[in-house]
């Protein structure tokens, strides 16, 4: 492999190096690269957001679908928050979005995050693993009781729950480390391989 002659690879390499330099010392190069990428990311959100508005609202409106006036009006009301006098109007579309989101997540999570999770604990007590799964779920739930003092049975159960959580946090810690390492390997493969061309 040889060194890249692709423009975007070169830009990406300069961006990558600039950001990595931050861990050694905060510097102007880093700050500029950071601003560049934050700006580009925000621009990207505008572009794709507009794509949705165009496909789902503007084009249908042009084809005579008048019902889309309602969401367009709601969407435009969001921007009233930049005008002192009318800023409270923006609460209406925010309320609409938040109410919709709350209703959706509530209706879904009772089934998927509570009922199905409890049901999955209905295991025969014929193996150590099954017993640990049931006991662990029970103990962790008891840890998060806040109106009952951690004494006696609840106290013991909560303590066991805490141990289970520490094993969880260890697993999360370990797998996060793995994730970050993978990402950095990816960045180095890019720098050494795609850019400099010194990897096979």
């Amino acid at each position: 492999m040889t060194m890249s002659n692709d423009l975007s690879v070169w830009i990406a390499a300069l961006v990558t190096i600039g950001l990595i330099s931050f861990v050694f010392k905060e510097n102007l190069y880093y700050r500029i690269v950071e601003s560049l990428y934050v700006g580009v990311s925000a621009g990207h959100a505008i572009v794709l957001g507009w794509g949705n508005i165009r496909n789902l609202a503007v084009r249908p409106l042009g084809e005579g679908n008048l019902a889309v006036i309602i969401p367009i009006a709601l969407g435009l009301m969001l921007f009233t928050r930049y005008f002192q006098k009318w800023s409270r109007v923006s609460r209406i579309p925010m309320g609409f979005l938040m109410g919709l989101g709350a209703g959706l997540s509530m209706r879904g999570l009772v089934g998927s995050q509570i009922v199905n999770q409890i049901k999955a604990c209905y295991l025969p007590l014929n193996s150590m693993n099954n017993i640990l799964i049931i006991a662990g779920t029970f103990a962790v739930l008891s840890y998060f009781f806040f109106t009952v003092e951690h004494q006696g049975f609840v106290g013991k159960s909560a303590q066991i729950g805490r141990y289970f959580m520490m094993l969880c946090f260890g697993a999360a810690y370990g797998s996060t480390v793995t994730g970050r390492i993978s990402l950095f390997v990816g960045r180095l493969q890019f720098l050494l391989g795609d850019w400099l061309g010194i990897l096979q």
Binding site: V89, F96, M106, Q117, L167, G170, A171, Y173, L183
Partner: protein, 205 residues
């Protein structure tokens, strides 16, 4: 009046979602579909709004900050935001120029920022990860196995590593996560209910 309207709209949007989920009634399904489609459009507007906040903060900085570096950075940010938006809106997000900016700046920028975490993990591992008590000991035990189980060298050290690592994730971790998942579900339900009924402190807006 405005406040009442907001509360009513918040409640209705959520209530119709919930009712349509449980009851198979014609008009509810129609209302559900309609509200969801509207939600997508309003959310697209909201997406642009987040960027406007960023513009506002940085215009202020570019104009009035006394720190020269801050001024330059805000200016760069605004210029790149404008450039990306203009190219995207005129030539589309699949055009060649747009792709150069996406592949050259946005994608590597974000992934490098995430990847930098490995350095902080390394120095915190060295300086701050102290096995002071049973909690930290258990955490380290589990973390070490899960880390070694994720790479080939784990098996070289001891052939049992992948199995122990998998067991930790599938049994004690699973049980603990499940307990937290159920608890967090109840918490989210409670937050949602308060929001729909307008009794939350962190009210809408």
């Amino acid at each position: 009046m405005l406040r009442t309207a907001t509360l009513v709209i918040t409640f209705l949007a959520g209530f119709i979602m919930i009712a349509a989920f449980f009851f198979d009634v014609g008009f509810l399904s129609v209302a559900e579909a309609q509200i969801q489609d509207w939600g997508v459009i309003v959310a697209a507007f909201a997406l642009a709004m987040a960027s406007i906040n960023l513009i506002q903060v940085n215009v202020n900085k570019a104009v009035s900050s006394e720190n020269v570096t801050d001024k330059i950075c805000s200016f760069v940010l605004l210029a790149s935001l404008a450039g990306m938006s203009i190219i995207g809106l005129t030539k589309g997000p699949t055009s060649d120029t747009y792709n150069v900016l996406f592949d050259g700046i946005m994608a590597p920028g974000q992934s490098t920022v995430w990847a930098l975490g490995v350095f902080y993990i390394a120095s915190a591992a060295y300086r701050a990860f102290r096995v002071k008590n049973a909690d930290a000991g258990l955490l380290l035990f589990s973390a070490a196995f899960v880390m070694l189980g994720a790479v080939p060298v784990g098996e070289v050290i001891w052939s049992g590593v992948p199995a122990v690592s998998q067991w930790i994730v599938d049994v004690p971790n699973m049980a603990g996560m499940r307990g937290m998942l159920i608890g967090a579900g109840i918490g989210a339900f409670s937050g949602g209910l308060r929001l729909l009924l307008g009794i939350d402190r962190t009210e809408v807006g």
